[in-house]
């Protein structure tokens, strides 16, 4: 790329094809997708280790492996890491890499903003974890739960920097997430290949669209909640200062108006992945496409009407509890419809039990169990019994591991050959799936029993004789089996990456546009942008089944293809707010120093914005056939 490419921008800009700077300055959605994937998998392992330590502590009654304070930090950071640094960015990796390929585009609408989203995610992820280096005893690791309830997070009850790292870190992460949301919606609405109307888009694209819409409407409320917490701590404001008339219940409402839609941010793209994998490996069109689309949209909308079911025990009164019980029960309907659609997709198909398919089927089974326990919480009186017990912990792990993580593994096995040009080993994949599946149920299913036996969440140890010993020990054993499954996956990736790049362009007999491209795709994706006539156009292109023309290719562009130019501004723009956030940390400690750092952060931000605006989108020209 570097040799033949011509630089168009006003200012000199980076144009490296390989090496460190080519990754720092990249605006290619495929590279950004890979960066997201690797970073998020690292954080996923960090969150997993945190879980493993907690399970060791709880294996037997009365253990003192970690202190209560460290345990608080572990469960807080385990949830925060898994949700914001693990699962969401793992899904973002798929969205980034695949979205333009699925709609026949050459990149996203705003390539530089896409890079910015990644860098601020990376910086925010590091920021929120810095406290670990200072030890948990002084309270510098967030330890007020992943919801950061006021006034556990007040200076009075958390004197260390823990809540500061948490609120500021999440604010940084939120900026990146919001920007991705805007970017993906514009990309989907504006950049589809000719002929691909909305109802011809792959279901995964629909779920990205709805998820992005949820993001742009849900993240502002948590942003406000976090700003209020931050103001209370940094500037002695009174938002949640009960003595001054602050309402801690108001914080809960603000948090959960974000917190519940967030659940759908974590699961809708996973459902999208499953909706792509199942039809390919069952060799049958997705059953009930339009119902799938409308149920996705309905879930996205109704996700905003159920938040108070997280607060049934707060004392909102019977009328409010009843209303939120009803809306929560209602949202199970579009979700249930999807389960039946997936089952009907496999029904009568030629199912191939590839690893991707095993994980997809595992998803349906596990997610259904998680859905059923979720439905039990919908009833307020029933929830009053389950609230703050391990029964709720069981539910969240069934929908997040059995749901999101299974879908992510399914997607990895499905698209790995497209991204890296190598097929993952199916034998190791078989072990990967069954160890994860067995380990997951062994560790998470006992939570149901523990919850019903009354074991509260978030306790760091328990006394013998409560009837909890067996289930806790079993659960800890399950974690080891699950970890073995993850190690098999890592081994599989290592072994596969040493093999030659010999994956065919279409190893699974795929249905969507990414399989029309070489593996891995060239930097410009499509030499000629296809014209799409049908849903699953590539499948009917290969297997007409009496359909008229499904997909047309024109001649590749005669001239060189225009690609957005590389830029260092995204990483600089991500650095500015991170520096400013670091300054806010010091406000209660050394005020003048803190103000200096905050001002420095603002200056970096402003300079980066000006650099961004005046360098323009720029671009390079590349001849088709190069840079693959």
């Amino acid at each position: 790329m570097a040799t033949a490419a011509k630089t168009l921008g006003i200012l000199p800009r980076p144009n490296a094809a390989t090496g460190f700077w080519s990754w720092v300055a990249t605006v290619d959605h495929k590279r950004i997708g890979i960066l997201y994937g690797i970073t998020a998998f690292f954080f996923f392992l960090v969150g997993g280790i945190e879980a493993w330590v907690m399970r060791l502590q709880l294996a037997r009654p009365g253990l003192e492996l970690v202190t209560a304070k460290t345990f608080n930090a572990l469960f807080t950071m385990h949830a925060t890491t898994m949700i914001f640094l693990g699962v969401m960015p793992l899904l973002a990796a798929f969205m980034n890499y695949l979205l333009p390929l699925l709609i026949g585009a050459r990149d996203v609408a705003f390539p530089r903003l896409n890079a910015f989203s990644y860098w601020i995610y990376l910086f925010g992820g590091i920021f929120i974890n810095v406290g670990w280096l200072m030890g948990t005893a002084a309270g510098h690791v967030p330890d007020s739960g992943w919801f950061g309830y006021a006034n556990l997070t007040s200076v009075e009850f958390s004197g260390g920097l823990g809540p500061d790292f948490w609120t500021l870190g999440l604010l940084l992460l939120g900026i990146g997430t919001l920007v991705s949301g805007f970017n993906f919606i514009v990309t989907i609405l504006n950049m589809r290949a000719p002929g691909m109307s909305l109802m011809k888009m792959p279901v995964f694209v629909w779920t990205i669209l709805v998820t992005s819409a949820i993001i742009i409407f849900a993240f502002p409320s948590v942003t406000v909640a976090l700003i209020m917490l931050m103001f209370d701590r940094a500037f002695a404001a009174n938002f949640f200062e009960v003595a001054a008339g602050g309402s801690v219940v108001f914080y809960q409402h603000l948090f959960w108006t974000f917190g519940h839609p967030e659940v759908y941010i974590l699961i809708l793209p996973a459902m999208g992945i499953i909706s792509e994998v199942l039809p390919v490996h069952a060799r049958k069109m997705l059953f009930g496409y339009s119902v799938m689309v409308f149920s996705t949209a309905l879930i996205g909308f109704m996700g905003f009407t159920v938040w108070s079911h997280h607060m049934f025990t707060v004392g909102m009164g019977p009328v409010v509890n009843s209303i939120f019980s009803l809306t929560t029960m209602a949202i199970a309907v579009p979700t249930g419809v999807k389960i039946f659609n997936w089952l009907s997709t496999m029904w009568g198909g030629q199912v191939r039990f590839t690893t991707a398919m095993l994980f997809a089927i595992g998803f349906i089974a596990c997610f259904t169990i998680g859905g059923l326990s979720g439905f039990m919480h919908a009833s307020a009186p029933s929830d009053a019994q389950q609230h703050d017990t391990y029964f709720v912990v069981a539910h969240i792990h069934y929908v997040l591991i059995g749901g999101s993580i299974f879908a992510i593994f399914s997607g990895i096995y499905h698209w790995f050959p497209k991204v890296f040009g190598r097929l993952l080993d199916e034998r190791l994949g078989w072990w990967n799936f069954w160890l994860v599946f067995a380990g997951f149920h062994t560790f998470a299913f006992p939570f149901h029993f523990l919850g019903l036996l009354g074991m509260p969440r978030r306790i760091y140890t328990y006394a013998a004789g409560m009837g909890w010993e067996f289930w806790n020990l079993l659960s800890t054993i399950g974690v080891f089996v699950l970890a073995a499954g993850i190690l098999v996956f890592i081994a599989n990736v290592v072994v596969t990456m040493r093999k030659p790049m010999d994956a065919p362009s279409d190893p699974w007999d795929g249905r969507t546009l990414e399989w029309t491209l070489p593996s891995p795709p060239p930097v410009y994706n499509f030499a000629a942008v296809p014209r799409v006539h049908l849903r699953d156009a590539f499948w009917f292109h290969k297997h007409p089944e009496g359909k008229e023309q499904a997909l047309e290719y024109g001649e590749p562009d005669a001239g060189p293809i225009h690609l957005p130019g590389q830029s260092l501004m995204p990483v600089l723009l991500a650095l500015g707010p991170t520096v400013a956030a670091t300054g806010v940390l010091f406000l209660r400690l050394r005020e003048s120093f803190a103000v200096g750092v905050i001002v420095a952060g603002f200056i970096v931000t402003l300079l980066a914005l000006w650099g961004w605006a005046f360098e323009g989108e720029g671009g390079t020209l590349i001849e088709p056939g190069e840079g693959s």
């Binding site: 514009v186 502002p220 001054a244 942008v529």
Partner: protein, 212 residues
Amino acid sequence: MAYHGHAHHGSVHTGGAHRSHAHETNTGIDNRKLGFWLFIASESIFFACLLVGYLVYKNGYEPGVGPRDLFNIELTTISTFVLLMSSLAMVLGVNAAQRNLGRKARRWVLLTALMGLAFLGFQAYEFTHFYHAGLSLSSSVFGTAFYTLTGFHGAHVAAGVVWLLTLLYHGRGGGLTADKADDVEVAGLYWHFVDIVWIVLFTVLYLLEFVE
């Protein structure tokens, strides 16, 4: 929508030709403009949440000073009028840019920025006055909610002023001519949004406070 139109073109038509035109999109709306409308949608929820916070907390000031002790409707009406007129100047600036009247556009944008600065001046005066009257970020929940909400609005106006001044620099040569009209228009979208937020805040915070 545009893609229906594509379907009626000749049977073999490479999309590549379409892609090379930066402004041709499925919806016909420019990417930046569509992105900005989405940003505005998101920002609306942001201000709505802050406003709900204000409504929850506005009566929490005993024994200190409350809204009726402090708000000066006449003064705030003037500053509101200035901000509203800045939107008119912005519209005229966008219009002049679209008609390729570069220097005229630049003058209107400059006037918009100056009126934005005037609004910020009023706000600085108001904040100082309230602070001396005994209302601070820490004095009561009313103070916390009031300063946070109006302060975030002020910060948005300030960011807008920086943006407008940057536009002036952008058009330093031949003015804000038609080729830069989209840049002016996107800044205008933001500016009008910040104005509309203030209309809501002025109504809910100041005017409704005195409705019996």
